[in-house]
């Protein structure tokens, strides 16, 4: 018994010690400024990975739209915290935007009424008709208003600008918005098998990205927004390293708090119930547990963490660019972190996030170097002329490696490096 409990702990310690050595090596070889940046980003990824590990590891939910929740969180935080745009506030824009919100609420109400009309004795056919009408009218009203509004705002002030609120507040809103989107998606898909959730999250992520790229009036679209405000003195105010180190400490504290809260939740009755549902859905359902409701809770919680982590990540890079949200970097990389680290194990997710991110960052110059070498020698020895976009294809090499890692881990080490320890009660 003792050896069984001893071993995993030794393994944890050994792996984290190795990670510490790796970080130290990078500090020495690459310098502090570079390493702190990498650690901040790895920490943000850690928060996002914790969000995923509770969805996948605790509840077996397959979310392939992490990018969407990151983007939604980042965009809402940007809107909350970026300085106000006086042109917008002096134009007719606020009035239009306010009216839009009013119409949005009215449409939501109409849709809700139509959807619940069966409670007031409306037959199924009439209800279907009412719902169809409600959807059609809402769509026409909202899309027409949106066209007018976006044209007006773009003409008068370029875009709406932010609200200039404190950064911490923006991060909270990031979580709230991501949570609301998750509520919608989860409400629709969680009663069905996990494949449907995968398809729907994939779709919502693509749509959020498309929307953010094209909604010039709201988020300045592909013109990007910078500089994003920092919660701590930003590098522009003075000391570069100091600013980054301050940001790092904020991220580290956030990561630690998230971890501790999740650990508590894991060992609470709520966490036990989650695992019971994951391991045997039918039995848990038969015991009267409301399986879908628990799943919805955990799905929302995970997405809230993704939204917050995404906002922290984008604020740090200081430029908000909707084209910068990539499935590879913001969805699949996180999947690799979680399954490699050990799903269902919070320490595993953090380990995976930091380790994989370091490998990811270091692999970029390596891949470019490799490709440059191939191009040079190919030219010298074989007279082979590399295509003009040859170096950009180094990126594709990494796409391949990420895919390969996912399939190999699933097959060879489905438990990950730090397997979940089944808590005994």
């Amino acid at each position: 018994m003792s050896s069984q409990t001893q071993n995993p702990i030794m393994r944890d310690i050994a792996l984290f010690a190795a990670l510490g050595v790796l970080v130290l090596v990078i500090f020495v070889s690459q310098g502090a400024v570079y390493s702190v940046r990498m650690l901040v980003e790895a920490g943000c990824y850690g928060i996002i990975a914790l969000g995923l590990t509770i969805q996948w590891g605790y509840a077996g939910l397959f979310n392939v739209g992490i990018m969407g929740f990151i983007a939604a969180g980042a965009a809402s935080s940007m809107l909350m915290t970026f300085p106000r745009n006086p042109d917008f506030w002096n134009s007719g824009g606020p009035e239009l935007a306010g009216l839009f919100i009013v119409k949005l609420i009215a449409c939501a109400l109409a849709l809700w009424l139509a959807n619940n009309s069966n409670r007031w004795g409306v037959g199924p056919r009439l209800r279907a008709l009412l719902i169809t009408i409600a959807i059609a009218v809402s769509y026409l009203v909202l899309s027409f208003h949106m066209t007018v509004m976006s044209e007006e705002i773009e003409k008068a002030s370029g875009w709406m600008g932010g609200l200039g609120l404190p950064v911490f507040f923006g991060w909270i809103i990031a979580g709230v918005i991501a949570g609301i989107i998750a509520w919608f998606v989860g409400k629709i898909c969680l009663g069905l098998r996990s494949d449907y959730l995968a398809i729907a999250t994939l779709g919502i992520a693509q749509i959020i990205k498309h929307f953010l790229k094209n909604a010039d009036w709201l988020t300045n679209g592909t013109l990007t927004v910078s500089p994003m405000p920092w919660p701590v003195p930003s590098p522009a105010d003075g000391e570069f390293l100091f600013a980054r180190a301050a940001y790092l400490s904020v991220v580290a504290v956030a990561l630690l708090i998230t971890y501790l809260l999740l650990q508590r939740a894991y060992h609470s009755p709520w966490g036990r119930m989650m695992r019971a549902i994951r391991d045997n859905e039918e039995a848990a359902g038969a015991m009267g547990k409301n399986v879908n409701r628990r799943r919805l809770e955990i799905f929302i919680l995970g997405c809230v963490l993704m939204g917050i982590g995404g906002a922290m990540l984008i604020h740090f890079t200081s430029i908000y660019d909707p084209s910068g949200f990539l499935d590879l970097n913001h969805t699949f990389l996180i999947w690799v972190m979680v399954i490699l680290g050990g799903s269902g194990n919070n320490r595993g997710a953090i380990f995976g996030a930091i380790f994989v991110y370091i490998v990811w960052v270091m692999s970029e110059p390596l891949a470019v170097m490799l490709f440059a070498t191939i191009a040079t020698y190919g030219d010298q020895w074989l007279g082979w002329e590399a295509p003009s976009d040859f170096l950009s294809r180094a990126l594709q090499m990494r796409v391949f490696v990420i895919g390969l890692t996912i399939t190999l881990v699933l097959r060879l080490a489905p438990q990950g490096l730090l397997p979940e320890r089944q808590a005994r009660h």
Binding site: D195, I199, A200, L202, Q206, S392, Q396, I402, T407
Partner: protein
């Protein structure tokens, strides 16, 4: 009259074309979903892979100076379909079968297919880059302009569009006969219906799995090739093409090939008609209308085209998760 021809060109023809492509992709997806019981996320990239196989074969033949009465790409599509089918079986052997045998949960297979799709994406773009390519390696595509009495505008159909429609019709009929007449085809339906009973009955599940990948892979190749022939070969479609095909599959009901065909056309037409500029069709009546006709009156701006399949998907999942043809809800 001119406006009607415009509507035929931009609305109906495009809808039929994109609908056939979605249908061809969705048939494979629905069979895989029904028989192997997981959502195959690598289907979009399997289409792209198939199109590339075709392109390579066509380019090789063109380099040898071969010319045929039909576009080279269309002719070599048939061997390319066979090659893609073999590749699909290979992918299954390497990545899905070991997991199936280990008794992995279906969601793990979904995840493996995500891994496979990334690998395919990586390989394709590593060797071919991300720029679009023209499938007509030997000569530009032929365009037929058919005069319509009473209109100055002509009905425009391209050669690949006609070939695509003919191919889709033939493929659907062939599939129908295979599934209802052939022993293996019936066995596929049996496995999709009740896999445990099929095994007890002595149906060779391995053969059924092969047949599934052969049909799925070859139709994916055809869909990818046709899509690339209609426009250009874009190596970075993957998730953007995957979403409408999944929507078509679920709308049609999982495990229902006929449903997939109907779903494909439904999604294709919705998409085309939603971004269609209705003001052109309404222009002749502009004096009778009670509002000023805007220059662009599409239901959905083109940049949000992807919204259409997604909304269809969401509405079906809320109100009828079994799809219109009463498929399974897994």
């Amino acid at each position: 009259m001119n406006d009607l021809v415009f509507f035929l060109n931009k609305g109906i023809t495009s809808g039929l074309i994109i609908g056939s492509i979605y249908a061809l992709g969705a048939i494979g997806l629905t069979l895989i979903f029904g028989i192997l019981r997981f959502a195959h996320f690598a289907h979009g990239d399997l289409m792209t892979l198939g199109a590339f196989v075709t392109l390579i074969l066509a380019a090789a033949l063109a380099a040898l100076g071969v010319t045929l009465p039909l576009p080279l790409a269309f002719v070599v599509m048939f061997p390319a379909m066979a090659i893609t089918a073999v590749l699909a079986i290979g992918l299954d052997k390497m990545f899905y079968k070991p997991l199936r045998q280990a008794g992995a949960r279906p969601v793990v297979l979904v995840m493996a297919s995500v891994g496979v799709t990334l690998m395919l994406q990586g390989v394709i773009r590593l060797f071919a880059g991300v720029r679009s390519r023209d499938m007509f390696v030997e000569a530009p595509k032929e365009i037929y302009r058919i005069p319509i009495p009473g209109a100055t505008r002509k009905l425009v159909v391209t050669e690949p569009q006609i070939l695509l429609m003919l191919f889709t019709i033939v493929a659907v009929i062939a599939l129908h006969f295979f599934l209802t007449r052939a022993r293996l085809g019936k066995a596929m339906r049996a496995v999709s219906d009740n896999p445990d009973l099929a095994r007890i009955t002595g149906i060779n599940t391995e053969h059924v799995v092969w047949a599934t990948w052969i049909i799925g892979g070859s139709l994916a190749c055809a869909a990818g090739t046709m899509l690339s022939m209609d426009v250009t070969l874009k190596p970075d479609l993957s998730f953007n093409i995957l979403l409408p095909i999944f929507a078509a599959t679920i709308v049609g009901g999982i495990g229902q090939p006929y449903g997939a065909i109907a779903g494909g056309f439904l999604v294709g037409f919705c998409e085309t008609l939603a971004v269609f500029n209705w003001s052109i069709v309404l222009r002749p009546f502009k004096d009778e209308l009670w509002f000023d006709l805007p220059s662009n009156m599409s239901l959905v701006p083109t940049e949000y085209k992807l919204m259409v399949p997604f909304l269809i998907l969401i509405i079906v999942l809320i109100y009828r998760p079994t799809g219109i043809f009463k498929g399974r809800v897994l």
